[in-house]
Amino acid sequence: MKIRDKVLIIEDDQRICNFMSSVLESHDYDAKIAHTASEAEALILSHCPDLIVLDLGLPDKDGIEILENLRTWSSLPVVVVSARSHESDKVQALDLGADDYLTKPFGTEEFLARIRTALRHTRTALGDTEMARTGLYKVGDLVIDYNKHHVLVAGEDVHLTHSEFRIMALLGKYAGKVLTYDFIIKELWGPRAGDNNQILRVNMANIRRKIEKTPAQPEYVFTEPGVGYRLAEGDEVESTK
């Protein structure tokens, strides 16, 4: 018997559920559906899913509450789904422990990609064993060297400053996942860093000019407007070509 990853979909719209579960089932996932928060809570406890797809706009309880409750006892990966105009919902969810987000409407490719990334990150903790062994993170021509504290593009050291390297190191640690601006600022400059938003942006602008061939069409670091930054994962660079 083949063991498949179990995905719990928490979504109230029946048609969207149909779409999501057909995509998942046809890609060898075991999909379960919950339409309300209470159904979801019961299913999480009884079926122990490997990943949860959570719609933030549920009828009976706020999706955020489910997330908060879940995070008090589990680091189970959660991908939240929300409507376009609610960036603050997404940011709040990410800051509360959601692993990634999807904006409605989304296509199959994007859906599957986010699920794969989220599952991979729980499987292998911080990056893969390869990275743990060599201390290097590689994507395309980019290499982040955690031992020597430098970043190479096509073999050449791009001479990042101390702050710039710390930002890249953080993005590399969570490669493929979106990190909110607040999260990065807090990780790098502490919880009372407050209004270091401009400093982060200017550092990113400099990083971009150093590592990207065309800063406006980046290959490695992507901006999610209103939310944060995401470093490309190994296969992502290949597929955008």
Partner: protein, 368 residues
Amino acid sequence: MNNSDNKYKINWDDAFVNFAFTTGILIAATVFSTVIHKENNGGSTAAIMIFILAVLIIARKTSGYKWGIIASFTGVIVVNFIFTYPFMQLNFSLTGYPLIFITMLLVSVITSATSTQIKLQERVHIESERAQVRANLLRAISHDIRTPLTSIIGSTSVLLDENCQLDEDQKRQLLQDVQDDGQWLIRVTENILSITRIDGDNQIVKTDELAEELIEAAIRKFSKRHPDSVPIEVNLPDQPLIVPMDVMLVEQVLLNLMENALIHGTGLSKIVLSLESQDGMAVFSVMDNGACMPDHMFPTLFEGTIRSDKSTNKGSKRCMGIGLAVCRTIVNAHGGTISAYNLEDREGVVFTFTIPMKEMETFNENQR
């Protein structure tokens, strides 16, 4: 709470402004009356006239009734004290006093009432103009929704019709059409949502964002939606530009402009996005090297009333009626301006909009 976006405009609802104005006019009236009083030697008629005029001016310009009435009282006292015999003494027993006082008071009240009514009429006028714009937009939206829906219902009814024998390619094409229509509807929805983000008073929540990141995100989104679009060139300045804005709204503007270029730039081979800094404004431009826009379209381009221009309509180039109107609403709400023009050599069309920037502080000392 009042929102005055032009810092040089005088805010007549501010108590301090009203106070200063009232005091200023009264002092001017006193000075003027003193001069004339010395010339005329004795009569208080001139002073009375000047102060009635002062009260009228104050009532006309200040807001509400109180400043005019205060001015009336003050005027009466000043005229009595300084300009009426016995001079430098208050004496209200002289005949004619009640008349002067009542006249000033009436002038003040009637003028204030007239001013208030004028302001009210102006507000009503603005409201009705806004209602008209809203009605136009709603009409455009309804058109933009009905068109793809008609196509969806049509395509799916053919697919569901048992009598229609379709081969795999035909079925696939119809399904692709349904998906494309769905995408179109999403874009219309996003435009509508953008409008709702801007409340009635054009209040938006701005955060400091890097203009180049916005451009990057917009291009990525655009390329995903139009994988077979013409190549997009980008010109960015060396210096990173930080622009306070609602990033989702300005992204919407860029997307609408790029889509517009792709759909209407007949024969285009590239789209060029440029960003530059000019006089404290971030200037974004979207240029396509397709056919020029007929000159008669420019005046109403951003009104939301444009349908496809029949004269250049080669085939079914679907037009989003509200796209450009939404662009203008968003740009204006940010305090910027949007415009379009044909290139001088008639080799394309440029849409350009500005967004006010912030002063960039130097960060060198913080980059450890």
